[in-house]
Protein backbone atom coordinates (compact mmCIF):
# COMPACT_ATOMS: atom_id res chain seq x y z
CA UNK A 1 0.00 0.00 0.00
CA UNK A 2 1.31 3.42 -0.93
CA UNK A 3 1.13 6.48 1.28
CA UNK A 4 -0.30 8.41 -1.66
CA UNK A 5 -1.58 7.00 -4.91
CA UNK A 6 -3.43 8.67 -7.75
CA UNK A 7 -4.90 6.92 -10.75
CA UNK A 8 -5.70 8.93 -13.89
CA UNK A 9 -6.59 11.89 -11.72
CA UNK A 10 -8.05 14.81 -13.64
CA UNK A 11 -9.63 18.08 -12.71
CA UNK A 12 -11.42 20.52 -14.97
CA UNK A 13 -12.42 24.03 -13.92
CA UNK A 14 -15.22 25.90 -15.64
CA UNK A 15 -14.43 29.60 -15.79
CA UNK A 16 -16.87 31.92 -17.56
CA UNK A 17 -17.78 29.24 -20.08
CA UNK A 18 -14.17 28.14 -20.62
CA UNK A 19 -12.99 24.67 -19.63
CA UNK A 20 -9.57 24.68 -18.00
CA UNK A 21 -7.83 21.34 -17.65
CA UNK A 22 -5.85 21.79 -14.43
CA UNK A 23 -4.90 18.14 -13.99
CA UNK A 24 -4.74 15.70 -16.88
CA UNK A 25 -4.52 12.03 -15.91
CA UNK A 26 -2.07 12.26 -13.03
CA UNK A 27 -0.55 8.94 -11.88
CA UNK A 28 1.76 9.08 -8.90
CA UNK A 29 2.71 6.65 -6.18
CA UNK A 30 4.49 7.89 -3.09
CA UNK A 31 5.88 5.21 -0.81
CA UNK A 32 5.71 5.46 2.96
CA UNK A 33 8.64 7.40 4.35
CA UNK A 34 9.27 9.30 1.11
CA UNK A 35 9.44 13.00 0.43
CA UNK A 36 8.20 13.72 -3.06
CA UNK A 37 8.94 17.11 -4.54
CA UNK A 38 6.44 18.37 -7.04
CA UNK A 39 8.01 20.95 -9.32
CA UNK A 40 6.16 23.14 -11.72
CA UNK A 41 5.50 26.66 -12.86
CA UNK A 42 2.54 28.74 -11.68
CA UNK A 43 -0.68 27.20 -12.93
CA UNK A 44 0.97 23.86 -13.70
CA UNK A 45 -1.45 22.07 -11.35
CA UNK A 46 0.61 21.59 -8.17
CA UNK A 47 -1.82 23.23 -5.78
CA UNK A 48 -4.84 21.64 -7.46
CA UNK A 49 -3.32 18.21 -6.84
CA UNK A 50 -2.61 19.05 -3.20
CA UNK A 51 -6.15 20.34 -2.73
CA UNK A 52 -7.64 17.11 -4.05
CA UNK A 53 -5.38 14.96 -1.90
CA UNK A 54 -6.14 17.02 1.18
CA UNK A 55 -9.93 16.65 0.59
CA UNK A 56 -10.51 20.33 -0.18
CA UNK A 57 -11.43 19.74 -3.80
CA UNK A 58 -13.14 16.95 -5.71
CA UNK A 59 -11.53 15.48 -8.81
CA UNK A 60 -13.45 15.56 -12.08
CA UNK A 61 -12.36 12.00 -12.84
CA UNK A 62 -9.93 9.38 -11.65
CA UNK A 63 -9.19 8.47 -8.07
CA UNK A 64 -6.78 9.26 -5.27
CA UNK A 65 -5.90 7.29 -2.16
CA UNK A 66 -4.13 8.13 1.07
CA UNK A 67 -2.92 4.97 2.84
CA UNK A 68 -5.40 3.07 0.72
CA UNK A 69 -8.37 5.27 1.61
CA UNK A 70 -10.26 7.09 -1.11
CA UNK A 71 -10.05 10.87 -0.62
CA UNK A 72 -13.62 11.27 -1.90
CA UNK A 73 -15.53 8.41 -0.28
CA UNK A 74 -13.38 8.11 2.84
CA UNK A 75 -12.61 11.78 3.42
CA UNK A 76 -13.35 11.64 7.14
CA UNK A 77 -10.73 8.96 7.75
CA UNK A 78 -8.22 10.61 5.44
CA UNK A 79 -8.54 13.92 7.33
CA UNK A 80 -7.41 12.21 10.52
CA UNK A 81 -4.06 11.20 9.04
CA UNK A 82 -3.13 14.20 6.89
CA UNK A 83 -2.29 17.83 7.38
CA UNK A 84 -1.55 20.74 5.10
CA UNK A 85 0.75 23.73 5.30
CA UNK A 86 0.51 26.39 2.63
CA UNK A 87 3.39 28.81 2.28
CA UNK A 88 2.69 32.52 2.16
CA UNK A 89 -0.31 32.04 4.45
CA UNK A 90 -0.52 32.65 8.17
CA UNK A 91 -3.72 30.90 9.24
CA UNK A 92 -4.83 31.35 12.82
CA UNK A 93 -6.61 33.75 15.09
CA UNK A 94 -4.78 36.97 15.88
CA UNK A 95 -6.29 37.38 19.34
CA UNK A 96 -5.24 33.87 20.39
CA UNK A 97 -1.73 33.22 21.64
CA UNK A 98 0.67 30.82 19.93
CA UNK A 99 -0.23 28.12 22.45
CA UNK A 100 -3.98 28.74 22.15
CA UNK A 101 -3.88 28.52 18.35
CA UNK A 102 -2.12 25.17 18.54
CA UNK A 103 -4.49 24.03 21.29
CA UNK A 104 -7.51 24.81 19.10
CA UNK A 105 -6.24 22.63 16.27
CA UNK A 106 -5.10 19.87 18.61
CA UNK A 107 -8.67 19.63 19.86
CA UNK A 108 -10.15 19.67 16.36
CA UNK A 109 -7.89 16.70 15.65
CA UNK A 110 -9.24 14.96 18.74
CA UNK A 111 -5.98 14.77 20.73
CA UNK A 112 -6.35 14.09 24.43
CA UNK A 113 -5.46 17.04 26.67
CA UNK A 114 -2.25 15.44 27.97
CA UNK A 115 -0.87 14.51 24.56
CA UNK A 116 -1.95 17.87 23.14
CA UNK A 117 -0.08 19.81 25.84
CA UNK A 118 3.03 17.66 25.43
CA UNK A 119 3.05 17.99 21.66
CA UNK A 120 2.36 21.73 21.72
CA UNK A 121 5.32 22.29 24.04
CA UNK A 122 7.52 20.15 21.82
CA UNK A 123 6.51 21.98 18.65
CA UNK A 124 6.93 25.37 20.32
CA UNK A 125 10.45 24.31 21.27
CA UNK A 126 11.27 22.79 17.87
CA UNK A 127 10.08 25.88 16.03
CA UNK A 128 11.97 28.26 18.29
CA UNK A 129 8.77 29.86 19.56
CA UNK A 130 9.49 29.51 23.29
CA UNK A 131 9.59 33.22 24.03
CA UNK A 132 6.37 33.78 22.07
CA UNK A 133 4.39 30.95 23.68
CA UNK A 134 1.92 33.33 25.35
CA UNK A 135 2.10 36.12 22.80
CA UNK A 136 -0.97 36.81 20.68
CA UNK A 137 -0.48 35.81 17.08
CA UNK A 138 -1.17 39.28 15.70
CA UNK A 139 1.93 40.51 17.51
CA UNK A 140 4.25 38.01 15.78
CA UNK A 141 6.45 38.85 12.79
CA UNK A 142 5.67 37.16 9.48
CA UNK A 143 8.52 34.68 9.94
CA UNK A 144 7.27 33.57 13.36
CA UNK A 145 3.68 33.36 12.11
CA UNK A 146 4.90 31.00 9.42
CA UNK A 147 6.73 28.94 12.03
CA UNK A 148 3.44 28.74 13.89
CA UNK A 149 1.76 27.69 10.65
CA UNK A 150 4.30 24.90 10.23
CA UNK A 151 3.84 23.82 13.86
CA UNK A 152 0.09 23.57 13.21
CA UNK A 153 0.84 21.22 10.32
CA UNK A 154 2.60 18.78 12.66
CA UNK A 155 0.07 19.02 15.52
CA UNK A 156 -1.67 15.74 14.69
CA UNK A 157 1.59 13.99 13.77
CA UNK A 158 0.16 13.27 10.31
CA UNK A 159 1.04 10.20 8.31
CA UNK A 160 0.98 12.31 5.16
CA UNK A 161 1.86 15.98 5.21
CA UNK A 162 1.23 18.27 2.26
CA UNK A 163 3.54 21.24 2.07
CA UNK A 164 2.43 23.66 -0.61
CA UNK A 165 5.34 25.99 -1.31
CA UNK A 166 6.18 26.10 2.40
CA UNK A 167 9.17 28.45 2.10
CA UNK A 168 7.34 31.03 -0.01
CA UNK A 169 8.14 34.47 1.37
CA UNK A 170 10.48 33.14 4.06
CA UNK A 171 13.91 34.62 4.62
CA UNK A 172 16.97 32.43 4.06
CA UNK A 173 17.38 31.41 7.70
CA UNK A 174 13.72 30.52 8.27
CA UNK A 175 13.61 28.62 4.97
CA UNK A 176 16.72 26.64 5.89
CA UNK A 177 15.29 25.85 9.32
CA UNK A 178 12.06 24.68 7.74
CA UNK A 179 13.82 22.43 5.20
CA UNK A 180 15.96 20.84 7.88
CA UNK A 181 12.97 20.24 10.14
CA UNK A 182 11.01 18.62 7.33
CA UNK A 183 13.85 16.22 6.52
CA UNK A 184 14.48 15.38 10.20
CA UNK A 185 10.80 14.81 10.84
CA UNK A 186 10.51 12.19 8.11
CA UNK A 187 13.82 10.55 8.99
CA UNK A 188 12.76 10.23 12.65
CA UNK A 189 10.03 7.76 11.66
CA UNK A 190 10.47 6.90 8.01
CA UNK A 191 8.00 4.02 8.17
CA UNK A 192 5.08 6.24 9.04
CA UNK A 193 5.72 9.73 7.68
CA UNK A 194 5.41 10.92 4.13
CA UNK A 195 5.56 14.38 2.61
CA UNK A 196 4.38 15.80 -0.67
CA UNK A 197 6.20 19.09 -1.16
CA UNK A 198 5.33 21.48 -3.96
CA UNK A 199 7.89 24.11 -4.77
CA UNK A 200 9.26 26.48 -7.36
CA UNK A 201 12.73 26.14 -5.95
CA UNK A 202 14.82 23.45 -7.57
CA UNK A 203 17.53 23.64 -4.90
CA UNK A 204 14.91 23.09 -2.21
CA UNK A 205 13.59 20.00 -3.97
CA UNK A 206 17.09 18.64 -4.46
CA UNK A 207 18.00 19.23 -0.81
CA UNK A 208 15.07 17.50 0.86
CA UNK A 209 13.27 15.25 -1.62
CA UNK A 210 13.75 11.55 -2.25
CA UNK A 211 11.92 11.73 -5.54
CA UNK A 212 10.91 14.53 -7.82
CA UNK A 213 7.95 14.86 -10.14
CA UNK A 214 7.82 17.63 -12.70
CA UNK A 215 4.33 18.77 -13.54
CA UNK A 216 3.65 20.73 -16.68
CA UNK A 217 0.21 21.87 -17.81
CA UNK A 218 -1.50 19.35 -15.56
CA UNK A 219 0.62 16.37 -16.58
CA UNK A 220 3.52 14.66 -14.87
CA UNK A 221 6.35 14.85 -17.41
CA UNK A 222 9.12 13.39 -15.24
CA UNK A 223 9.09 11.31 -12.06
CA UNK A 224 12.28 9.88 -10.56
CA UNK A 225 14.93 10.33 -7.91
CA UNK A 226 17.05 13.49 -8.33
CA UNK A 227 20.06 11.36 -9.28
CA UNK A 228 18.15 9.35 -11.84
CA UNK A 229 16.69 12.49 -13.33
CA UNK A 230 20.12 14.02 -13.71
CA UNK A 231 21.48 10.77 -15.13
CA UNK A 232 18.71 10.84 -17.71
CA UNK A 233 20.49 13.86 -19.20
CA UNK A 234 23.68 11.94 -19.89
CA UNK A 235 22.98 12.20 -23.59
CA UNK A 236 23.18 15.97 -23.38
CA UNK A 237 25.71 18.64 -22.46
CA UNK A 238 25.04 21.44 -20.05
CA UNK A 239 26.99 24.68 -20.43
CA UNK A 240 26.87 28.07 -18.82
CA UNK A 241 27.74 31.05 -21.00
CA UNK A 242 28.51 34.60 -19.85
CA UNK A 243 27.90 37.31 -22.41
CA UNK A 244 28.35 41.01 -22.50
CA UNK A 245 26.03 43.05 -24.63
CA UNK A 246 24.31 46.39 -24.83
CA UNK A 247 21.22 44.77 -26.27
CA UNK A 248 18.25 45.33 -23.98
CA UNK A 249 15.94 42.50 -25.07
CA UNK A 250 17.14 39.39 -23.30
CA UNK A 251 14.21 37.33 -24.52
CA UNK A 252 15.37 37.42 -28.14
CA UNK A 253 18.75 35.78 -27.46
CA UNK A 254 17.00 32.93 -25.64
CA UNK A 255 14.70 32.45 -28.60
CA UNK A 256 17.57 32.66 -31.09
CA UNK A 257 19.57 30.01 -29.28
CA UNK A 258 16.58 27.79 -28.55
CA UNK A 259 15.70 27.65 -32.24
CA UNK A 260 19.12 26.35 -33.29
CA UNK A 261 19.74 22.74 -34.20
CA UNK A 262 21.11 20.67 -31.34
CA UNK A 263 19.89 23.02 -28.60
CA UNK A 264 17.65 21.15 -26.20
CA UNK A 265 16.87 24.09 -23.90
CA UNK A 266 18.06 27.56 -23.05
CA UNK A 267 17.24 29.88 -20.20
CA UNK A 268 18.49 33.01 -18.47
CA UNK A 269 20.16 32.32 -15.13
CA UNK A 270 18.66 34.37 -12.31
CA UNK A 271 21.34 32.92 -10.07
CA UNK A 272 22.37 33.79 -6.52
CA UNK A 273 25.84 34.59 -7.94
CA UNK A 274 24.35 37.46 -9.85
CA UNK A 275 22.78 38.82 -6.69
CA UNK A 276 26.08 38.44 -4.84
CA UNK A 277 27.95 40.35 -7.53
CA UNK A 278 25.33 43.01 -7.28
CA UNK A 279 26.00 43.26 -3.57
CA UNK A 280 29.62 44.04 -4.38
CA UNK A 281 28.80 47.11 -6.36
CA UNK A 282 27.24 45.88 -9.58
CA UNK A 283 23.76 46.91 -10.60
CA UNK A 284 22.13 43.49 -10.30
CA UNK A 285 18.76 42.61 -11.77
CA UNK A 286 16.89 39.38 -11.33
CA UNK A 287 16.88 38.62 -15.04
CA UNK A 288 20.34 37.15 -15.29
CA UNK A 289 22.10 40.38 -16.16
CA UNK A 290 24.36 42.92 -14.49
CA UNK A 291 25.14 46.08 -16.40
CA UNK A 292 24.97 44.23 -19.72
CA UNK A 293 26.29 40.91 -18.40
CA UNK A 294 24.02 38.02 -19.28
CA UNK A 295 24.24 34.46 -18.07
CA UNK A 296 22.64 31.66 -19.99
CA UNK A 297 22.26 28.01 -19.21
CA UNK A 298 22.12 25.96 -22.39
CA UNK A 299 21.51 22.25 -22.94
CA UNK A 300 23.03 20.84 -26.11
CA UNK A 301 22.67 17.35 -27.50
CA UNK A 302 26.37 17.20 -28.33
CA UNK A 303 29.47 19.16 -27.29
CA UNK A 304 30.51 19.52 -30.93
CA UNK A 305 27.81 22.20 -31.19
CA UNK A 306 29.63 24.52 -28.79
CA UNK A 307 31.97 26.22 -31.31
CA UNK A 308 29.10 26.91 -33.72
CA UNK A 309 27.07 28.38 -30.90
CA UNK A 310 29.88 30.68 -29.78
CA UNK A 311 30.42 31.83 -33.38
CA UNK A 312 26.76 32.65 -33.73
CA UNK A 313 26.83 34.71 -30.53
CA UNK A 314 29.88 36.67 -31.61
CA UNK A 315 28.37 37.32 -35.05
CA UNK A 316 25.25 38.64 -33.32
CA UNK A 317 27.22 41.28 -31.47
CA UNK A 318 27.77 39.54 -28.15
CA UNK A 319 31.10 39.42 -26.36
CA UNK A 320 31.47 35.90 -24.98
CA UNK A 321 33.27 36.19 -21.64
CA UNK A 322 33.26 32.54 -20.68
CA UNK A 323 31.87 29.15 -21.58
CA UNK A 324 31.80 26.61 -18.78
CA UNK A 325 30.71 23.01 -18.97
CA UNK A 326 28.61 21.98 -15.96
CA UNK A 327 27.43 18.76 -14.41
CA UNK A 328 23.72 18.34 -15.05
CA UNK A 329 21.59 19.88 -12.32
CA UNK A 330 17.91 19.68 -11.55
CA UNK A 331 17.61 22.97 -13.34
CA UNK A 332 18.79 21.24 -16.51
CA UNK A 333 16.30 18.46 -15.92
CA UNK A 334 13.54 21.02 -15.48
CA UNK A 335 14.65 22.88 -18.61
CA UNK A 336 14.79 19.66 -20.58
CA UNK A 337 11.29 18.58 -19.66
CA UNK A 338 9.53 21.92 -19.44
CA UNK A 339 11.77 24.10 -21.61
CA UNK A 340 11.74 27.83 -22.01
CA UNK A 341 7.94 27.90 -22.26
CA UNK A 342 7.68 26.72 -18.69
CA UNK A 343 10.26 29.27 -17.67
CA UNK A 344 8.18 32.05 -19.16
CA UNK A 345 5.07 30.86 -17.35
CA UNK A 346 6.72 31.02 -13.97
Amino acid sequence: MYAVETIDLSRVFELKGRRILALDGINIRIGKGEILGLLGANGAGKTTLVKILSTLLLPTSGSAYIHGHDVVRDAKYVRGIINLVSGGETPGYGMLTVRENLWLFSQLYGLSSGIARERIEMLIRDMGLEQYRDVRMHRLSTGYRQRLNLARGFINDPKVLFLDEPTLGLDVINAKHMRRYIRDWVDADGEERTILLTTHYLAEAEEVCDKIAIIYRGRIVAYETPLALKASLSDGVSIQVELLSNRTTKGSIVEEISSRDGVLACMLVPSQNVVEQGDHGGNARYDGSIDGLTRLRIMLDDDSKIPDLVSMLVMNGYRVLSVRRDQPTLEDVYMRYVGSMGNEES
Binding site: T55, L57, G80, T90, F105, D126, Y181
Partner: protein, 294 residues
Amino acid sequence: MAVEGHRPSPIGRGMSTVIRTVVQGVWLGWKVESNWTNPFVFLTYLIAKPIAGVILVGLVFVIGSSASGMGSREDLFFYVFIGAVFFIYPATMTVSLAYLVHEDRAKYESLKHIYITPASLTPYIVGRGMASAINASVSVAVSLIIGSIIFSNHFSLPLSIDVVRVDYPALVASILLGVAASILLGIILYAINLITFKLQYSLAEYTTGVLFLLSGVVFPTSMLPYPASLIGGALPTTHFLNAVREALAGDHAYTSMAYLLLSTLALAVISLACMNRVESLARMKGTIDRKAEY
Protein backbone atom coordinates in the same frame (compact mmCIF):
# COMPACT_ATOMS: atom_id res chain seq x y z
CA MET B 1 15.82 19.80 17.07
CA ALA B 2 13.95 16.93 18.70
CA VAL B 3 11.40 15.24 16.57
CA GLU B 4 11.49 11.77 18.06
CA GLY B 5 8.72 12.60 20.51
CA HIS B 6 6.00 12.51 17.86
CA ARG B 7 3.56 9.68 18.19
CA PRO B 8 0.52 8.70 16.17
CA SER B 9 -2.45 10.79 17.15
CA PRO B 10 -4.99 9.09 19.41
CA ILE B 11 -7.98 10.21 17.40
CA GLY B 12 -11.29 9.74 19.07
CA ARG B 13 -9.89 9.25 22.55
CA GLY B 14 -11.81 10.81 25.45
CA MET B 15 -14.68 13.07 24.61
CA SER B 16 -16.27 12.52 21.25
CA THR B 17 -14.91 14.72 18.50
CA VAL B 18 -18.32 16.30 18.05
CA ILE B 19 -18.59 17.53 21.64
CA ARG B 20 -14.97 18.64 21.59
CA THR B 21 -15.57 20.58 18.41
CA VAL B 22 -18.65 22.30 19.85
CA VAL B 23 -16.69 23.23 22.98
CA GLN B 24 -13.80 24.59 20.91
CA GLY B 25 -16.28 26.52 18.78
CA VAL B 26 -17.78 28.13 21.88
CA TRP B 27 -14.34 28.95 23.30
CA LEU B 28 -13.05 30.36 20.04
CA GLY B 29 -16.27 32.26 19.40
CA TRP B 30 -16.12 33.85 22.83
CA LYS B 31 -12.47 34.82 22.32
CA VAL B 32 -13.08 36.24 18.86
CA GLU B 33 -16.40 37.97 19.49
CA SER B 34 -15.62 39.35 22.91
CA ASN B 35 -12.36 40.73 21.51
CA TRP B 36 -10.97 41.61 24.93
CA THR B 37 -8.11 43.44 23.27
CA ASN B 38 -10.51 46.33 22.72
CA PRO B 39 -13.12 46.59 25.52
CA PHE B 40 -14.72 49.69 24.02
CA VAL B 41 -15.57 47.88 20.78
CA PHE B 42 -16.87 44.92 22.78
CA LEU B 43 -19.15 47.05 24.96
CA THR B 44 -20.44 48.98 21.96
CA TYR B 45 -21.25 45.77 20.16
CA LEU B 46 -22.70 43.95 23.11
CA ILE B 47 -24.59 46.67 24.98
CA ALA B 48 -24.90 50.04 23.28
CA LYS B 49 -25.99 48.76 19.86
CA PRO B 50 -28.84 46.49 21.04
CA ILE B 51 -30.05 49.06 23.58
CA ALA B 52 -30.13 51.69 20.86
CA GLY B 53 -32.16 49.35 18.64
CA VAL B 54 -34.68 48.53 21.36
CA ILE B 55 -35.09 52.16 22.42
CA LEU B 56 -35.60 53.15 18.80
CA VAL B 57 -38.42 50.64 18.42
CA GLY B 58 -39.93 51.82 21.74
CA LEU B 59 -39.77 55.46 20.67
CA VAL B 60 -41.42 54.67 17.34
CA PHE B 61 -44.19 53.04 19.35
CA VAL B 62 -44.54 56.08 21.63
CA ILE B 63 -44.59 58.55 18.72
CA GLY B 64 -46.93 56.38 16.65
CA SER B 65 -49.40 55.84 19.45
CA SER B 66 -49.39 59.57 20.33
CA ALA B 67 -49.84 60.66 16.71
CA SER B 68 -52.73 58.26 16.19
CA GLY B 69 -54.42 59.63 19.31
CA MET B 70 -54.86 56.22 20.85
CA GLY B 71 -52.58 57.09 23.79
CA SER B 72 -50.12 54.71 25.33
CA ARG B 73 -51.40 51.17 25.69
CA GLU B 74 -49.31 49.06 28.03
CA ASP B 75 -50.29 45.71 26.52
CA LEU B 76 -49.29 46.83 23.04
CA PHE B 77 -46.04 48.29 24.37
CA PHE B 78 -45.32 44.99 26.10
CA TYR B 79 -45.81 43.20 22.76
CA VAL B 80 -43.54 45.55 20.85
CA PHE B 81 -40.85 45.93 23.51
CA ILE B 82 -40.46 42.22 24.32
CA GLY B 83 -40.51 41.39 20.60
CA ALA B 84 -37.74 43.90 19.91
CA VAL B 85 -35.63 42.77 22.89
CA PHE B 86 -35.80 39.04 22.22
CA PHE B 87 -35.38 39.50 18.48
CA ILE B 88 -31.76 40.27 19.46
CA TYR B 89 -31.19 36.49 19.59
CA PRO B 90 -31.96 35.64 15.94
CA ALA B 91 -30.57 38.96 14.70
CA THR B 92 -27.21 38.63 16.46
CA MET B 93 -26.75 34.94 15.83
CA THR B 94 -27.69 34.83 12.16
CA VAL B 95 -25.45 37.81 11.39
CA SER B 96 -22.61 36.27 13.37
CA LEU B 97 -22.82 32.90 11.62
CA ALA B 98 -23.31 34.41 8.18
CA TYR B 99 -20.12 36.47 8.59
CA LEU B 100 -18.24 33.50 10.00
CA VAL B 101 -17.42 32.06 6.56
CA HIS B 102 -15.82 35.29 5.42
CA GLU B 103 -13.91 35.71 8.68
CA ASP B 104 -12.51 32.18 8.71
CA ARG B 105 -11.90 31.97 4.97
CA ALA B 106 -10.41 35.37 4.19
CA LYS B 107 -9.53 37.17 7.40
CA TYR B 108 -8.04 34.35 9.46
CA GLU B 109 -7.25 31.99 6.53
CA SER B 110 -8.23 29.12 8.80
CA LEU B 111 -11.36 27.69 7.17
CA LYS B 112 -9.56 25.17 4.99
CA HIS B 113 -7.45 24.02 7.92
CA ILE B 114 -10.53 23.56 10.09
CA TYR B 115 -12.28 21.79 7.21
CA ILE B 116 -9.53 19.21 6.75
CA THR B 117 -9.56 18.17 10.41
CA PRO B 118 -11.67 15.13 11.31
CA ALA B 119 -14.03 17.51 13.13
CA SER B 120 -17.10 18.26 11.05
CA LEU B 121 -17.92 21.86 10.17
CA THR B 122 -21.46 21.63 11.57
CA PRO B 123 -20.50 21.13 15.27
CA TYR B 124 -17.95 23.92 14.86
CA ILE B 125 -20.66 26.27 13.56
CA VAL B 126 -22.97 25.20 16.39
CA GLY B 127 -20.24 26.05 18.90
CA ARG B 128 -19.64 29.43 17.30
CA GLY B 129 -23.41 30.00 17.34
CA MET B 130 -23.56 29.15 21.04
CA ALA B 131 -20.83 31.69 21.77
CA SER B 132 -22.89 34.22 19.90
CA ALA B 133 -25.94 33.20 21.99
CA ILE B 134 -24.00 33.96 25.19
CA ASN B 135 -23.24 37.44 23.90
CA ALA B 136 -26.86 37.87 22.77
CA SER B 137 -28.10 36.84 26.23
CA VAL B 138 -26.06 39.64 27.81
CA SER B 139 -27.49 42.09 25.26
CA VAL B 140 -31.04 40.88 25.93
CA ALA B 141 -30.69 41.13 29.71
CA VAL B 142 -29.16 44.60 29.57
CA SER B 143 -31.69 45.85 27.01
CA LEU B 144 -34.57 44.46 29.04
CA ILE B 145 -33.44 46.13 32.28
CA ILE B 146 -32.28 49.48 30.91
CA GLY B 147 -35.08 49.75 28.36
CA SER B 148 -37.79 49.06 30.93
CA ILE B 149 -36.29 51.67 33.28
CA ILE B 150 -36.16 54.33 30.55
CA PHE B 151 -39.69 53.73 29.26
CA SER B 152 -41.18 53.37 32.70
CA ASN B 153 -39.61 56.55 34.11
CA HIS B 154 -39.62 58.84 31.11
CA PHE B 155 -42.58 57.72 28.99
CA SER B 156 -44.94 56.33 31.66
CA LEU B 157 -44.86 52.95 29.96
CA PRO B 158 -44.14 50.38 32.67
CA LEU B 159 -43.36 46.90 31.43
CA SER B 160 -46.15 44.80 32.88
CA ILE B 161 -44.07 41.85 34.03
CA ASP B 162 -45.04 40.33 37.37
CA VAL B 163 -41.93 38.38 38.43
CA VAL B 164 -44.10 36.06 40.53
CA ARG B 165 -46.34 35.13 37.57
CA VAL B 166 -43.54 34.49 35.06
CA ASP B 167 -43.45 30.88 33.87
CA TYR B 168 -39.70 30.42 34.23
CA PRO B 169 -39.43 26.84 32.93
CA ALA B 170 -41.38 27.82 29.82
CA LEU B 171 -39.26 30.96 29.42
CA VAL B 172 -35.98 29.04 29.66
CA ALA B 173 -37.20 26.28 27.34
CA SER B 174 -38.44 28.86 24.81
CA ILE B 175 -35.12 30.68 24.87
CA LEU B 176 -33.20 27.43 24.39
CA LEU B 177 -35.40 26.46 21.46
CA GLY B 178 -35.13 29.99 20.06
CA VAL B 179 -31.34 29.79 20.29
CA ALA B 180 -31.40 26.40 18.54
CA ALA B 181 -33.62 27.79 15.78
CA SER B 182 -31.34 30.80 15.36
CA ILE B 183 -28.27 28.56 15.05
CA LEU B 184 -30.04 26.40 12.46
CA LEU B 185 -31.00 29.49 10.50
CA GLY B 186 -27.38 30.64 10.78
CA ILE B 187 -26.19 27.30 9.40
CA ILE B 188 -28.28 27.88 6.26
CA LEU B 189 -26.75 31.33 5.80
CA TYR B 190 -23.29 29.87 6.46
CA ALA B 191 -23.92 27.21 3.84
CA ILE B 192 -25.01 29.78 1.24
CA ASN B 193 -21.95 31.92 1.94
CA LEU B 194 -19.68 28.90 1.69
CA ILE B 195 -20.41 28.56 -2.02
CA THR B 196 -20.94 32.24 -2.81
CA PHE B 197 -18.85 35.37 -2.32
CA LYS B 198 -20.86 38.44 -3.19
CA LEU B 199 -23.56 37.85 -0.58
CA GLN B 200 -21.38 37.50 2.48
CA TYR B 201 -22.26 40.89 3.96
CA SER B 202 -25.70 41.52 2.53
CA LEU B 203 -27.26 38.09 3.09
CA ALA B 204 -27.38 38.44 6.87
CA GLU B 205 -28.79 41.96 6.64
CA TYR B 206 -31.52 40.91 4.20
CA THR B 207 -32.39 37.87 6.29
CA THR B 208 -32.72 39.75 9.57
CA GLY B 209 -34.79 42.41 7.77
CA VAL B 210 -37.19 39.82 6.40
CA LEU B 211 -37.34 38.02 9.75
CA PHE B 212 -38.09 41.29 11.52
CA LEU B 213 -40.98 41.90 9.15
CA LEU B 214 -42.43 38.38 9.13
CA SER B 215 -41.82 37.17 12.69
CA GLY B 216 -44.31 39.34 14.55
CA VAL B 217 -41.64 41.43 16.25
CA VAL B 218 -43.64 44.67 16.44
CA PHE B 219 -47.03 43.55 15.11
CA PRO B 220 -48.79 40.18 14.95
CA THR B 221 -48.27 38.11 11.80
CA SER B 222 -52.08 38.09 11.35
CA MET B 223 -51.78 41.72 10.22
CA LEU B 224 -49.64 40.68 7.25
CA PRO B 225 -51.16 39.94 3.82
CA TYR B 226 -52.16 36.28 3.37
CA PRO B 227 -49.05 34.67 1.82
CA ALA B 228 -46.72 36.64 4.11
CA SER B 229 -48.70 35.71 7.23
CA LEU B 230 -48.48 32.06 6.16
CA ILE B 231 -44.68 32.32 5.92
CA GLY B 232 -44.57 34.16 9.24
CA GLY B 233 -46.61 31.39 10.85
CA ALA B 234 -44.08 28.80 9.65
CA LEU B 235 -41.07 30.63 11.08
CA PRO B 236 -39.73 29.42 14.44
CA THR B 237 -38.79 33.02 15.28
CA THR B 238 -42.49 33.96 15.31
CA HIS B 239 -43.34 31.20 17.79
CA PHE B 240 -40.20 31.93 19.80
CA LEU B 241 -41.26 35.54 20.37
CA ASN B 242 -44.86 34.53 21.12
CA ALA B 243 -43.74 31.85 23.59
CA VAL B 244 -41.43 34.30 25.39
CA ARG B 245 -44.17 36.94 25.64
CA GLU B 246 -46.62 34.38 27.00
CA ALA B 247 -44.11 32.96 29.50
CA LEU B 248 -43.19 36.44 30.75
CA ALA B 249 -46.86 37.37 31.09
CA GLY B 250 -47.55 34.14 32.95
CA ASP B 251 -49.99 33.02 30.23
CA HIS B 252 -50.28 29.55 28.74
CA ALA B 253 -47.15 29.30 26.55
CA TYR B 254 -47.22 25.63 25.64
CA THR B 255 -49.11 25.92 22.36
CA SER B 256 -46.58 28.43 21.06
CA MET B 257 -43.79 26.23 22.40
CA ALA B 258 -45.19 23.21 20.57
CA TYR B 259 -45.22 25.22 17.31
CA LEU B 260 -41.73 26.44 18.12
CA LEU B 261 -40.51 22.89 18.65
CA LEU B 262 -42.10 21.60 15.44
CA SER B 263 -40.84 24.47 13.30
CA THR B 264 -37.35 24.13 14.83
CA LEU B 265 -37.30 20.41 14.02
CA ALA B 266 -38.34 21.16 10.45
CA LEU B 267 -35.64 23.81 10.24
CA ALA B 268 -33.10 21.30 11.59
CA VAL B 269 -33.88 18.87 8.78
CA ILE B 270 -33.64 21.65 6.18
CA SER B 271 -30.45 23.22 7.50
CA LEU B 272 -28.53 19.97 8.02
CA ALA B 273 -29.54 18.72 4.58
CA CYS B 274 -28.53 22.09 3.16
CA MET B 275 -25.13 22.00 4.89
CA ASN B 276 -24.50 18.44 3.76
CA ARG B 277 -25.28 19.28 0.15
CA VAL B 278 -23.34 22.52 0.19
CA GLU B 279 -20.20 20.86 1.56
CA SER B 280 -20.13 18.59 -1.50
CA LEU B 281 -20.80 21.55 -3.77
CA ALA B 282 -18.05 23.58 -2.12
CA ARG B 283 -15.57 20.75 -2.65
CA MET B 284 -16.71 20.46 -6.24
CA LYS B 285 -16.45 24.20 -6.91
CA GLY B 286 -13.31 24.66 -4.83
CA THR B 287 -14.76 27.48 -2.75
CA ILE B 288 -13.59 26.33 0.68
CA ASP B 289 -10.28 28.15 0.41
CA ARG B 290 -11.03 30.64 -2.33
CA LYS B 291 -10.52 34.11 -0.92
CA ALA B 292 -12.82 36.33 -2.98
CA GLU B 293 -14.42 36.61 -6.37
CA TYR B 294 -15.35 40.09 -7.48
